[in-house]
């Protein structure tokens, strides 16, 4: 499909539950074939958004447009949207085959077409052998695939996934993440995925929307969010980071100049630069810090003393104290060999101005 109009258009949607605001004026487009993840802590509004798209909640204000049609007040059974539930919600009194046929039957398909379609989808998800089993006789991973098959069978325009990997153990989860991503590519369906697990979001998504307190914190590609977080919340929620509190000094071309306990540092401001003299926080990822024997020519550099090391297998986390910056600490990821060699002598720590983002609070 080369249709350029967005599949989903969320226009100024808010949802109030009594006095609490679950979703605050959300406006967003979702393109066809996109794998979008809504990421955030519990109560951030991600599940409410999913339930509004599914038709299980009606927004207090705003509209939802699906494929050019206003579906704001449409009940779930009328929408071309299917969902994979957190607990899978497989019908326990129906076999795998009956579960998968459920949606097809209600579409009014005849029995031969239902059989053809459910066989096809079961083959696609390697469930052929389980057609006559009941959900209680399946493993967690198999149930998860049945839930996916059941939701994909009626050929929805949009597939909603509500933390569907939460119930799986860590090892299986990694494998299923890969599978999900590849299924999404092969079917070219639009996936709307909701999770609180940042790693999951980074692995699978084309685009991540970070939510907090009913509002969008940042909306971008996984790389964008990771290396150029716009706010302190995003920087802290995704991955591990060094947060540097300082004061805004001014501009130097594209770069922003800040003062960090007497050290002058350069970064960039994806969310817009604050006025001069304002207190600011900047974020730089642990793996962006490099060790040098002498002061590097370009970029930011400070001198630090190693105060702690944590061995993490393939790499090592090194804690450093910067005496010149009133004893502030930084943490860096280095490969295990480098980590072993740094020691008592102070080292130069350097990083690019591109890798440090000034955050919105």
């Amino acid at each position: 499909m080369t249709d350029q109009t967005p599949l989903v258009r969320i226009e100024g949607v808010s949802k109030h539950f009594g006095d609490t605001v679950a979703l605050d004026n959300l406006t967003l487009d979702i393109a066809r074939g996109e794998f979008v993840t809504f990421l955030g802590p519990s109560g951030c509004g991600k599940s409410t958004t999913l339930r509004i798209l599914g038709g299980f909640e009606r927004p207090t204000t705003g509209r939802v447009i699906l494929d050019g049609q206003d579906v704001t007040t449409q009940p779930p059974e009328k929408r071309q949207v299917n969902m994979v539930f957190q607990d899978y919600a497989l019908f326990p009194h129906m076999t795998v085959g009956q579960n998968i046929s459920f949606g097809l039957e209600l579409k009014g398909m005849d029995k031969t077409s239902i059989k053809r379609r459910s066989d096809e989808i079961m083959a696609f998800l390697e469930l052929d052998a389980f057609g006559d089993r009941y959900p209680a006789q399946l493993s967690g991973g198999q149930r998860q695939r049945v839930a996916l098959a059941r939701a994909l069978a009626p050929d929805p325009a949009l597939l909603l996934l509500d933390e569907p990997l939460g119930a799986l153990d860590a090892k299986l989860r990694g494998q299923v993440q890969q599978e999900l991503k590849s299924i999404q590519r092969r079917t070219n369906k639009t996936f709307f995925f909701v999770t609180h697990d940042q790693e999951e979001a980074l692995t699978m998504s084309d685009r991540i929307v970070v939510m907090n307190k009913g509002r969008v914190e940042q909306d971008g590609t996984p790389e964008d969010l990771y290396f150029h977080p716009a706010s302190r919340f995003v920087a802290e929620f995704i991955g591990e980071t060094n947060l540097l509190s300082g004061e805004m000094r001014g501009h130097d071309g594209d770069a922003v100049v800040m003062d960090w306990f007497g050290q002058t540092l350069r970064g960039h401001a994806p969310a817009g630069a604050p006025p001069e003299g304002a207190p600011i926080t900047a974020s730089v990822r642990l793996e962006k810090l490099g060790f040098h024997a002498s002061r590097p020519e370009t970029g930011n550099a400070v001198q630090g003393k190693v105060v702690g090391k944590t061995f993490l297998g393939s790499r090592m986390a090194v804690d450093l104290m910067v005496e010149e910056a009133q004893g502030a600490t930084l943490r860096a990821f280095v490969d295990a060999e480098t980590g072993q060699t740094v020691g008592a002598d102070p080292v130069w720590i350097g990083w690019d101005s591109d890798s440090m983002a000034v955050l919105r609070d």
């Binding site: 007040t73 059974e77 039957e105 209600l106 579409k107 009014g108 398909m109 005849d110 031969t112 239902i114």
Partner: protein, 328 residues
């Protein structure tokens, strides 16, 4: 001719595709049904109203209605109304109750008996429930409980009759006592408050046993072990730990048994005598004779109902206070 054939052919095609669908597929795509469901699901509010309207009407007219009508009739001078007679509002039916000992004596007797029998039931069933919950392995608990349940599926009349056979002058109890040489002549157990008590306790024991059992079963055994660990003896453990924590079960069991006891009609008629006339028999009396006594009967039933309600409410309040006092 050919038109007819053609239309039959299209009908066949329709029939074929319709047969091809499943029942649910046909139903949900049948246009009148779709239109109807469209109207129903148009808004969550409307959907809720459609769901709620029947239950609401039912409980108002069928559950509350009879009680309200009873109270209304109790305030009139004639019911059913004969043609040409006018119905008047009156409190005379209530006044009659206080005016004659023959009416209020059975009333108080019923309440006192019911209270006493409830207490007896509690004393009798508590150890049984305790044994079931504490000393029977979890696997056997249902079996032991089921054994007690079986007799309780048998109806009120049959079980009352069984008590009559047990306690009669030539009944099993007298036979046993005589053959043991304990008595010379049969003791007249029947038609006394004793026989009535045995019958009522026999009929209500289960309603006490089940709440007690579920309260005791929920109580973690570790509480008792902790108390024992702190040096509490068996009696102290029971009085300070088990009893206070099962007050809820005691309270609901007693309430149930009390309400049921006050409502028995056949059992006092069959097992009791002239000296044990209960209020249920008094009330019933107004419905056996000519219809113009109905308002009085209704008034007496209303008095009974509110008395029972107030007493159980006070009792529950007391038990609640006791529980809170103990946990402090």
């Amino acid at each position: 001719m050919s038109n007819e054939a053609a239309s039959r052919a299209t009908q066949d095609v329709d029939a074929h595709t319709r047969v091809g669908r499943t029942f649910w597929g046909r139903l949900s795509n049948w246009s009148p049904y779709r239109a109807l469901m469209g109207l129903v699901t148009a808004s969550p509010r409307r959907q809720f109203l459609i769901l709620a309207i029947f239950p609401l009407l039912w409980v108002l007219t069928q559950h509350l209605g009879p009680m309200l009508q009873m109270v209304r009739v109790s305030l009139t001078d004639a019911y059913p109304v004969a043609p040409g007679v006018e119905q008047h509002f009156t409190l005379d039916n209530y006044a009659r109750f206080f005016g004659d000992q023959i009416f209020w004596q059975p009333f108080f007797r019923t309440l006192i008996f019911a209270g006493g029998f409830t207490f007896c039931t509690l004393i009798l069933t508590y150890p049984v429930a305790y044994f079931l919950a504490r000393h029977v392995s979890r696997k056997n608990q249902m079996l032991f409980l089921l054994l007690l349940l079986i007799p309780f599926w048998v109806g009120e009349i049959v079980r009352t009759y069984a008590i009559m056979i047990l306690l009669g002058n030539t009944g099993a109890l007298n036979l046993v006592l005589q053959s043991l040489g304990l008595i010379d002549r049969p003791i007249p157990f029947m038609y006394t408050s004793f026989s009535m008590g045995v019958g009522i306790v026999y009929l209500t024991a289960l309603y006490m046993l089940l709440p007690l059992y579920s309260a005791l079963e929920k109580l973690p055994r570790s509480y008792n072990e902790a108390a024992a660990d702190l040096g509490a003896g068996a009696w102290t453990r029971f009085r300070r730990v088990t009893l206070p924590l099962t007050i809820e079960g005691i309270s609901s069991g007693c309430t149930l048994v009390f309400l049921i006891s006050t409502g028995f009609y056949a059992t006092p008629v069959l097992l009791g005598g002239p000296s044990t006339t209960t209020f249920a028999e008094t009330i019933a009396g107004f419905f056996h004779v000519a219809g113009d006594e109905w308002p009085t009967g209704a008034a007496f039933a209303t008095i009974m109902f509110f008395a029972a309600l107030v007493l159980t409410a006070v009792f529950q309040k007391l038990m609640n206070a006791l529980r809170k006092g103990d946990t402090k």
